[in-house]
Every structure is written in structure tokens, then in C-alpha cells.
């Protein structure tokens, strides 16, 4: 579960990237975070993951306050950033082992989990190579694997489908569904409305730092014959 209560963030004292937003992301659902470029999606994700600090407001992840119990909150998060170009000098397996050490995954568990994830994402033969030699999609996969290693309750993914091949995108969507069905939380940002429509139980639309809509997909579409795209464009046009 993720709770944002009256959260605001201003960059450089002028640009208000997030303006007094409140949002409840319940356990057991896949929550899509939609919005045009520069709407405040990545800033909100950075606030939840502790990468930046809010100017005001409270953020809780699985009940852990990100300000007073930052490490507790972080332990519950599996985060996939939008830029997968991390630690290019490490081999895939070294990166995963490092993440396992950082998140305290036991020696027995890590081998089973790595093996399972590598098979699902078809990365088994690439683990011994440096991340530098990976394609964009492979880098995305290794970062996703690193984020899921410690089996976190809350998945936060920033544009996770970018660069993934159809098979891996399908696997990820299946894994997101499985994870939510077990009573966990999946929160992800996307530009692709079709993905949101097919995968999400609920969505929030953000524009100019405000939450313009939060609720179920059907609720957003208002009626069965109107498209999500049309509603999205209507909402964000005047934001």
C-alpha cells in the first residue's frame, strides 16, 4: 500500500512539479500512473522511492513513513527507474548479487530467484557478460530482475515496458498481475494507454502537478463506448 497525503515538491524554489497531491494506492491492485510529459509522474515516483524529499506532506509505503523510517520504506519497494543504464561495468550476475546483498536476500533464496527470473526473461546466457554489452531491452530486464530479487511487496516501475521485446513485456505484465493477485501493490507510470487499459485495475491521471482523476478504468471512460484515449486527452488538455 502507498499513501500520499498533501504532498508538494518545488524545484529550485520556482517550478512546482507536484502540487498538494493525495493518493491511495491499495494493496492487491495494479495502479497505472498516466500523464503527459512533464506532468509530474517521475517526480511523484522519485518522492515515493525516497530519491527526492517532499517540501511538505506525508508519504507512507506499507505503513513506513518515508521521512521518519526511510530505510523501512525502501526495503518494501522494488523500483525500476526509467533509465536502465546503471553500473555498466558490472556483469549481470554481479549486479544481481550486489542487489541481493544490499537488500539482504539469503544465499539460498537468491540463487533460486535469479534462476527463475533469468529463465522468464531469457537472460540466462547473458548473466556472465558485462551490462555494457547488453542492448537497451536487456539492460531494462536486468534492472527489473534486480528490483524484484528481494520479493518486495510494493513494485514501483517508471515506464517499465520501454525497450522490452513482446515476450518480455508479456512476462512482465503477467508477473505484475500475479504479484497484485497475491495482495501486493504494483504502481507504474506509462505513456501507453493501451497498456494501462489492459493491465490496470485503477489509474490516476496527473497534469501540471495535480491529480486530475483517480479511480477505476471504467469510471474514467464513463461509458463503454468512449475510449480511454479520448478521456485522457480531454482531462489533460486543460490542465
Amino acid at each position: 500500500m502507498i499513501e500520499l497525503i498533501n504532498v508538494s515538491k518545488t524545484y529550485g524554489g520556482r517550478v512546482k512539479a507536484v502540487d498538494d497531491i493525495s493518493l491511495n494506492v491499495d494493496s492487491g491492485c495494479i495502479y497505472g500512473f498516466l500523464g503527459p510529459n512533464g506532468a509530474g509522474k517521475t517526480t511523484t515516483i522519485k518522492l515515493i522511492t525516497g530519491i527526492i524529499q517532499p517540501d511538505s506532506g506525508t508519504i507512507r509505503v506499507e505503513g513506513h513513513d518515508t521521512k521518519n523510517d526511510a530505510l523501512g520504506a525502501k526495503m518494501n519497494i522494488g523500483f525500476v527507474p526509467d533509465d536502465p543504464n546503471v553500473f555498466l561495468g558490472l556483469k549481470g550476475i554481479e549486479y544481481l548479487a550486489f542487489m541481493a546483498n544490499i537488500y539482504g536476500v539469503s544465499a539460498g533464496d537468491r540463487k533460486t530467484i535469479i534462476d527463475g527470473l533469468a529463465k522468464r526473461f531469457e537472460m540466462t546466457s547473458a548473466l556472465g557478460d558485462k551490462i555494457q554489452s547488453y542492448s537497451h531491452g536487456m539492460r531494462q530486464k536486468i534492472v527489473i530482475m534486480g528490483a524484484l530479487l528481494h520479493q518486495p511487496k510494493v513494485w514501483i516501475l517508471d515506464e517499465p515496458m520501454t525497450g522490452l521485446d513482446p515476450k518480455s513485456a508479456f512476462e512482465l505484465k503477467t508477473m505484475m498481475r500475479e504479484h497484485a493477485d497475491k495482495g501486493n501493490t504494483v504502481f507504474f507510470s506509462t505513456h501507453v494507454l493501451e497498456v494501462a487499459e489492459k493491465v490496470c485495475d485503477k489509474v490516476a491521471v496527473v497534469g501540471s502537478g495535480h491529480i486530475l482523476f483517480a479511480g477505476g478504468i471504467q469510471e474514467m471512460k464513463k461509458s463503454d463506448d468512449s475510449s480511454l484515449e479520448k478521456m485522457f486527452l480531454e482531462m489533460t488538455q486543460n490542465a
Binding site: 524545484y11 522519485k46 522511492t49 525516497g50 530519491i51 527526492i52 524529499q53 530505510l71 525502501k74 526495503m75 519497494i77 523500483f79 527507474p81 533509465d83 543504464n85 546503471v86 553500473f87 555498466l88 561495468g89 558490472l90 556483469k91 550476475i93 554481479e94 544481481l96 548479487a97 550486489f98 541481493a100 546483498n101 544490499i102 537488500y103 539482504g104 539469503s106 544465499a107 537468491r110 540463487k111 535469479i114 534462476d115 540466462t124 546466457s125 547473458a126 548473466l127 556472465g128 557478460d129 558485462k130 555494457q132 554489452s133 547488453y134
Partner: protein, 543 residues
């Protein structure tokens, strides 16, 4: 032609830092570089003055000119090989350029122009001071200056084209150089080895060379100058153009040199169209095996490690595996002690130094060694770029469940470990030079404490103003003012340790206590500043 010029401008801009906020600091960098290169240029100029006087006695002062052009061409050729590979094959702009509606010769022409401009830097501190010195001594006229300027502008072409042809052949028909990382490692180490080798050769030969030997080297049919003229076609014309600048012979030779340079450009463009574009295929960032890990490899790779150790290992791996970081942060540690030893042995000074060190107050010797240790740990750019090297991925340090202070401790530890090896080597060199074992051990222990202080000082500097916006790691390490600041601080730290001991002439025990107190207090205070002040600053920084 205007397309070639436009492309060249973009390529040159791509190679320099694009961080507009740091204009002020870049000016400082320019000044510092001018100072460093200026001192080399001045020493070359004064050497040329001496050589002119010496050769004038034989009536052979003109031999300086082919020597100047030849020596510069050699430098251009050797550095050219590395530049050609990085500008023509490893630069990221090639893929973009291949997709643009450009003719092959336009891309090749722009690449050659970019390379020529890079080589002007070498010319500026080798050829320029030699020509200026010769001009002053021989009473140069206006034509000498005009011809010199033209020759300066055109000289790099011939050496570069020779280097480019070799590189293009190798890249077209072999796998060598295709792996960027391996090439940068091997190339960097060879370049460093060459630089040290040349340094030692000059140290040990020039000082002991007689006037006759110098004359034999610079004049006559079997001289070095003659050999260089044969290797690099056109050098003879370049020299004769200046020698006869007052007459038509000069102009004729200048024209012949221009023809040589033009022929080189045509040869480059012709061969380039045949070899270059096919040779580009298969250039990769790093090698990939794409082979399943064996069970043992998997077991070994996934062994459980405490967080702090895992973090230090990660830092060390990244330092070792990036060619730029390896050369500037790791290798540099080992160069200092080796350089001292090799220079002393090469210069034959080891025997004169030994009795001096054996009889020296061991307190002062310890202070000197510890002070030098402080300098080594500040000169290696490990901690002073530890945060800058994270670049745009600094966010990683902020979302993982490890406190910032713990991460900074791990970053400091990577610097402490590598600098520690340098200090250990320094202590061994001291013993080889006649210092007592106990003295060396005390110097090593206190040196390690100073390294702790120096490493945290570097982190403090980098955390205060990290350079996070960069396109390649070179900008984060080599074009980072924090490295320079840390080095200056290292000099101050060394002075704080050595000067009082030397000036006050402390007794051995007092000297050791003084050095120990300074090192321990500084280490404690600087670490405290890092884990409290710098850590909080980084936690609150918006990335």
C-alpha cells in the same frame, strides 16, 4: 566544403564539456593547463636556445628546423594512432552521421579536420617554442613568421594520415581495436609506458650527453634528423621553406610541402572510402560471451556478502573496469613509487641518495613519507570523483535501503585501499633506498591514517559540488575541478606534515607524535564532516 566545416565544429564541441554552468571553473582549468603546458613549452624553448648556440659553432644551426618538424611529427603520429581510433571508430557520433545525407568524403574530411585541430595542442608546446626560439636567435623576418604559421597549420596532416592509414588497415582486416574497452586499456597503458620511458630516456641520456654526441644526433647523413625526414615525407621541404624564407627557394619549398600535404589528404580520402566504412562494422563497447554460467560460477557469484563489503567491491570493480577510471584512479597510485625508483636508478642517483637517507633524522624521513602518502591519496581522483562518477545514476544511491553515510564510508574505503597499496609500495621503496624497517613500518601506519584523512577530504570536496552532468566518464574524471582541488589540498596536507618537522627539527619521537596527532585528528574530523554534513546534503539533493 561548408558541410565538412559544420561537421567539424559539431565533432569538436562533442569532445568538450557542455556544462554551461561551470564556465568559471573551466577558466580555472584552462589557466592551470596553460601553466602546466607553458612550463613544458618554456623548457623546450630554452633547450632550443642552447642547441642553437651549440650548433652555431659548427655553422649548423639550421639543423634545428628539420629536428623540430621531425620530433613534432613523431609525437603527432603516435598520439594520432590513439586519436584516430577514438575519433574515427569509437566516437558515438558515427552512427548518427552514417544516417545523414552526407557523402563519405565529407564525413572523412570532417574527421580529419577534427584530428588536425586536436594535434595543434601538441604542436603548441613542441613545435611552437622551437620555432619561436629559432626565430628569435636567427632574427626572423615577416616571411619566416608567415611560413611558420602555414607550416604549423599543415604539419599534422602528414603524420595523421600515416597513422590513419595504419589504423584503417588494421580495423578493416583484423579484430584489434574493435572492443572499445580493451583498446582503451591497452592503449592507455602503452601511452603511459611510453611517457615514462621517454622521460627516463631523456633524464638519463641528455644530462650525460656530450656536445659532440648532440651534434652527431642532429646533423649529418646518418643523424636522427635525417632519419625523421625520411620517415615523414615533406619535412625536408618544411625546413627548407623556413631556412630559405628570405629567397624564392623558401617559397618553392613551401609550395612543395603544401603539395605533399594535399597529396596526403587525397590519399586519405581515397583510401578512407575503401577502408573506413567497412572497418566500422563490429566495433563494440565490450565483449560478450553469451554463455550460460556453470553451477560453480553461479555459486561463487551469488555468495552472500555483508552490505559494506559488497558496496566496496562494487566500487572497486567499477574503478578497475572503466579504462578512464583505471588509468586515472588506480594505475596512477602505482606510478608514483615506481617512477621515483626508476628515475633514481636510471639517473644513477641511488648511490648518492642512500647515505643521505641512512643518516637522515628518521622522524623527518617518516614525515616526508607520510606527507608524500597524503599527496598520493589526493592525486588519484578516486574519492574526489566518487560522487561525480555516479553521474545521472546518482539516484541509485538514494533509493537503496543503505544509509548515505554508510555508502560514503564504502566509497572512502575504496580510495583508502587503493591508496594504501601506493603507500605500501612507497614504504618498500624507502627501505630499498636505505630507510630502516621500523621507520618504514611507522611511516606506513601513519601514512594509512593520512590516507584516511585524504580520502575523506576528497569525498567532502566532491559532495560539495559533484559534476553529475556528463556524456562520458572522461568528463567526470579528467575534466573535473574537484580532482585539482583535492590535489591542492593534498599538497597543503603534505606541507602541514613535513614543514613543521623539517623547520623545527623535531626529535624522532616528537616528530612521530606530531605526525600521528595531525593525521588522526584530521582523519576523525574529516570523516565526521562526511558522514554528517556531506551525507545529509546528498540525501537532500534533488536529482
Amino acid at each position: 566544403m561548408h558541410k565538412i566545416w559544420a561537421l567539424t565544429k559539431i565533432m569538436l564541441k562533442g569532445g568538450s564539456s557542455s556544462d554551461n554552468n561551470k564556465k568559471k571553473s573551466r577558466w580555472w582549468l584552462v589557466l592551470l593547463l596553460l601553466f602546466a603546458f607553458g612550463s613544458i613549452a618554456f623548457s623546450i624553448m630554452f633547450m632550443t636556445f642552447g642547441l642553437f648556440d651549440l650548433l652555431s659553432t659548427m655553422g649548423a644551426a639550421e639543423a634545428i628546423l628539420p629536428l623540430a618538424f621531425g620530433a613534432t611529427s613523431i609525437v603527432i603520429f603516435f598520439f594520432g594512432i590513439f586519436y584516430v581510433v577514438s575519433v574515427m571508430y569509437h566516437a558515438n557520433d558515427i552512427q548518427i552521421m552514417l544516417g545523414l545525407p552526407l557523402r563519405p568524403y565529407e564525413i572523412l574530411g570532417a574527421k580529419l579536420m577534427t584530428l588536425v585541430v586536436y594535434e595543434y595542442i601538441f604542436e603548441a608546446f613542441i613545435l611552437l617554442p622551437m620555432l619561436v626560439a629559432y626565430g628569435i636567435k636567427s632574427g626572423a623576418d615577416i616571411l619566416f613568421i608567415v611560413y611558420s604559421t602555414m607550416l604549423f597549420a599543415l604539419l599534422p596532416i602528414i603524420g595523421l594520415v600515416m597513422a590513419a592509414i595504419i589504423v584503417m588497415l588494421v580495423m578493416r582486416f583484423t579484430r584489434f581495436g574493435k572492443n572499445k574497452q580493451v583498446f582503451n586499456f591497452v592503449g592507455g597503458i602503452i601511452a603511459l609506458g611510453l611517457a615514462i620511458g621517454v622521460n627516463i630516456a631523456i633524464q638519463s641520456s641528455v644530462s650525460s650527453m656530450s656536445a659532440e654526441q648532440i651534434i652527431a644526433l642532429t646533423t649529418g647523413q646518418s643523424s636522427l634528423t635525417e632519419l625523421l625526414s625520411r620517415i615523414f615525407p615533406g619535412i625536408g621541404f618544411a625546413a627548407n621553406a623556413l631556412i630559405g624564407s628570405a629567397s624564392l627557394t623558401g617559397l618553392w619549398n613551401l609550395l612543395l610541402f603544401v603539395v605533399c600535404a594535399a597529396a596526403a589528404v587525397i590519399l586519405f580520402l581515397g583510401l578512407g572510402q575503401l577502408l573506413y566504412f567497412k572497418g566500422l562494422a563490429g566495433v563494440t563497447e565490450a565483449a560478450a560471451r553469451r554463455k550460460n554460467l556453470s553451477l560453480e560460477e553461479l555459486d561463487k557469484s551469488t555468495a552472500s556478502t555483508p552490505v559494506a563489503r559488497a558496496y566496496v567491491i562494487k566500487e572497486l570493480r567499477l574503478l578497475m573496469r572503466s579504462p578512464i577510471a583505471f588509468l586515472n584512479c588506480v594505475l596512477i597510485n602505482f606510478i608514483w613509487p615506481v617512477l621515483i625508483l626508476v628515475m633514481l636508478i636510471g639517473g644513477g642517483q641511488i648511490d648518492t641518495l642512500k647515505p643521505f637517507i641512512t643518516t637522515m633524522n628518521s622522524g623527518l624521513l617518516i614525515a616526508i613519507l607520510v606527507g608524500f602518502g597524503a599527496f598520493i591519496s589526493s592525486a588519484n581522483a578516486i574519492t574526489s570523483t566518487a560522487i561525480s562518477r555516479e553521474g545521472k545514476t546518482l539516484y541509485f544511491t538514494k533509493y537503496i535501503p543503505v544509509s548515505m553515510s554508510k555508502q560514503l564510508d564504502a566509497k572512502a574505503m575504496s580510495g583508502i585501499l587503493l591508496s594504501g597499496i601506493g603507500i605500501l609500495m612507497l614504504a618498500v621503496v624507502a627501505v630499498l633506498l636505505g630507510a630502516g624497517i621500523l621507520t618504514a613500518v611507522i611511516a606506513f601506519v601513519l601514512g594509512m591514517v593520512t590516507v584516511v584523512a585524504g580520502s575523506y577530504a576528497g569525498l567532502l570536496i566532491d559532495a560539495a559540488r559533484p559534476k553529475l552532468s556528463w556524456m562520458n566518464e572522461q568528463q567526470a574524471i579528467k575534466q573535473n575541478m574537484n580532482v585539482m582541488l583535492h590535489m591542492l589540498l593534498g599538497v597543503l596536507l603534505a606541507a602541514l606534515i613535513i614543514v613543521p618537522v623539517a623547520v623545527a627539527g623535531f626529535a624522532e619521537v616528537v616528530a612521530v607524535i606530531y605526525v600521528a596527532v595531525v593525521a588522526v585528528v584530521l582523519a576523525a574530523v574529516l570523516r565526521q564532516r562526511v558522514v554528517s554534513g556531506a551525507a545529509i546534503k546528498l540525501e537532500q539533493m534533488d536529482v
